[in-house]
């Protein structure tokens, strides 16, 4: 589980820059940070490789869409803290083009997260990554999108 922190304290300590241009007041002040090498799971396009395309936010992909009050969320990346949740998500029609799961061993320098759960998935986080998250150096394991056992 990630550690609750204040954004200002985090920025003072790590002095990082955001990888994307973010709207005002984004990320919010109350965030969480992975201080203990916790994993973070993200659905990716290809099975065994995470590319820059997998780091494109929704607001970046669809700049003309009206995100209203949710622009702050659309400027971050959806991610999950369990593999089961990632596998479950991959069954939805809009996400079926994503063929792999990246398990990133997080480091505080990689950015901050905020729990943005839906009622279905309390393990969903929005992740705003920094320029220090480097696909070539980050510790990433690739997981298969295999069928989950049927829910009981």
């Amino acid at each position: 589980m990630y550690t609750p922190t204040k954004l200002t304290e985090y920025l003072d300590k790590y002095g990082v820059s955001w990888a994307k241009t973010l709207p005002e007041n984004t990320p919010p002040e109350d965030i969480v940070v992975a201080y203990n090498k916790e994993p973070l799971f993200r659905l990716i396009q290809k099975e065994e490789i995470m590319t820059e395309n997998d780091l494109k936010t929704h607001s970046e992909l669809y700049p003309n869409r009206n995100f209203g009050n949710n622009l702050w969320k659309a400027s971050g990346l959806s991610s999950l803290c369990t593999l089961e949740d990632a596998r479950s998500m991959a069954k939805l029609p809009y996400l079926k083009h994503l063929h792999g799961i990246a398990e990133i061993t997080m480091s505080p320098e990689y950015g901050v997260m905020l729990k943005t759960p839906s009622n279905n998935c309390a393990n969903h986080y929005t992740w705003w990554h920094t320029t220090l998250f480097d696909l070539n150096n980050a510790e990433i394991q690739y997981r298969e999108i295999t069928l989950q056992p049927k829910a009981i």
Binding site: M1, S118, A151
Partner: protein, 375 residues
């Protein structure tokens, strides 16, 4: 064209993947995002859904695909969403539904009214482990008979307590005492504070492992493994487990339980126990009631004994008064009462609940008696 009002997001990933909306008659629509290349809007495939069916979906009883394969009124809608205030549904003939618009088989909703973080933060506040249990009937109807609820809670407490005693001994029994501290109506999530305090690593390891032990029984499919795990818990744990499962089975209830494992790591554990899993364990316990038997031996003297009244007797062991009955009243033949005449007795031990105080009560049935010596 039907204008819809947004009600709630059920699944979010980048954007709302599934949400609920209503029309002006308050009819609910389940809307599922599908791929569509339009820069200005999102498109969803919708079906009208009754409260009952929605609850079945939220309760993980039916999957998403089954809802879309068989809409209750046979109708589909194409829903265009420009923003939360601009949601328009248009009837869509079933023959225009394409496979890419549908989910894969086996997407179950995990509608979670139990917030892990709330459990953890309340554990931190109280300094004691928090746990919770939620009951759900086959229709996930969000209501429950009061007698069933109290019965189920009473037996769940007995099961956890007995399992804890079995694993760590009577000196730790009080750690398993549960105090209900909150009840959420939605799916009868009862929150408890348990009585073990956290250690310096933020863990209440004993009670957490007791709950884990109970939990793992329900995840076993193979009968050999089930036999092995259940035999580890021989005695009162199994009788109270059977008693708890009897309430679940009789009322067709499944349950979900969860507890804080570590406040330092901010982790919780627990799972949803289905009706199938309940039946599997309950059936096994019913056919192996001999595993519930507990025999105890005492050394001391008889203070009284009668062949009447179900062979009631009083035995004094280490100045402690033990009372019981026997089916074989001729066992009293030749027995002499009084402190000068020492006996070793073997009894079957049963555990019951005192109907007045609701506290666990132990009763004994005498099965063997050996004279030791006369002082």
């Amino acid at each position: 064209m039907i204008r819809l009002n947004f009600i709630e997001v059920i699944v979010f990933y980048e954007v709302p993947q599934i949400f609920i909306a209503t029309d002006i008659f308050d009819t609910k629509y389940l809307c599922l995002l599908y791929p569509h290349d339009d820069e200005l809007c999102y498109k969803y495939l919708a079906v009208r859904i009754s409260e009952k069916r929605l609850n079945l979906f939220k309760g993980q009883i039916i999957d998403l695909l089954s809802i879309y394969q068989d809409p209750e009124d046979g109708c589909y809608f194409d829903v265009v969403v420009k923003d939360a205030n601009d949601i328009i549904a248009t009837p869509l003939p079933a023959n225009l539904i394409q496979p890419f618009m549908l989910p894969d088989d086996g997407f179950y909703c995990n509608y979670d009214a139990i917030d892990n973080e709330e459990l953890i933060s309340r554990s931190l506040q109280s300094g004691k482990i928090m746990s919770c249990i939620a009951f759900s009937d086959i229709e996930n109807s969000h209501n429950i008979d009061v007698n069933v609820l109290t019965n189920a809670l009473d037996r769940y407490q007995a099961m956890v307590r007995n399992c804890h005693i079995k694993r760590f001994g009577k000196q730790y029994a009080s750690e398993a005492n549960m105090r209900a501290c909150a009840l959420q109506a939605a799916s009868f999530d009862v929150h408890f504070i348990l009585n073990e305090t956290f250690d310096m690593f933020g863990e209440a390891s004993r009670i957490s492992s007791t709950l884990q032990k109970i939990d793992e029984i329900f995840s076993i499919n193979s009968s050999d493994e089930l036999k092995e795990k259940i035999e580890e818990l021989q005695g009162h744990t199994l009788s109270s487990m059977r008693s708890f499962l009897q309430v679940m089975e009789k009322n067709k209830l499944s349950f979900k339980h969860k507890w804080v494992k570590s406040t330092l790591e901010k982790s919780t554990s627990g799972s949803t126990i289905s009706l199938n899993a309940i039946s599997r364990v309950y059936d096994y316990l019913n056919t192996h009631t001999e595993l519930e038997e507990v025999t105890t031996e005492f050394v001391g003297y008889f203070a009284s004994g009668t062949v009447l009244n179900k062979g009631k007797w009083i035995f004094i062991c280490d100045k402690k008064r033990i009372t019981g009955t026997t089916d074989e009243s001729n066992m009293f033949n030749g027995i002499t009462l009084g402190e000068r005449h020492q006996y070793k007795i073997k009894c079957m031990e049963y555990q019951d609940t005192n109907p007045v105080t609701a506290k666990p009560k132990t009763t004994y049935k005498l099965i063997e008696c050996t004279r030791l010596n006369s002082l």
